[in-house]
Symmetry: C2
């Protein structure tokens, strides 16, 4: 099993209402923050040990199921 | 401004229904995956350039607002 971390964020230019609301709340608490952007992490185990084929499989999973390529960018880190 | 990435995941042992449902869907599509766990990313800009004080401020933000320390673990990466 290979551990993989997929990070999914909204594409630049799309509004991020969770980020805007969280920034507002942090400013209200006195923290001096700039832009805040939310995303998702998906940690998964893939039953394969070849890094290139793990990366290819997870890219396919992202395109088919895990991400929405119309509005989201994703990055894949092969951890072990 | 310093860029910071906060990764928030559920504590071990808590059930993760999104992960379970996604694993089931990936298996149905023919991908051989083990455990799948969901989490959140929060990318934020902090108006401070000292890494130690940025880290202290973001830890406080996590404890007060960004994470739920009862059920979640968080990690902080200072990116630039």
């Amino acid at each position: 099993m290979t551990q993989v971390r997929v990070s999914i964020t909204r594409k630049d230019g799309l509004s991020d209402p969770e980020g805007v609301a969280t920034r507002r709340a942090l400013l209200d608490l006195g923290y001096d923050v700039g832009e805040v952007h939310f995303g998702r992490i998906i940690n998964l185990e893939v039953d394969d040990t070849d890094e290139a084929s793990v990366r290819a499989a997870v890219t396919a999973m992202c395109e088919r199921l895990l991400a929405n390529p119309v509005i989201e960018d994703y990055s894949i880190e092969v951890l072990s």
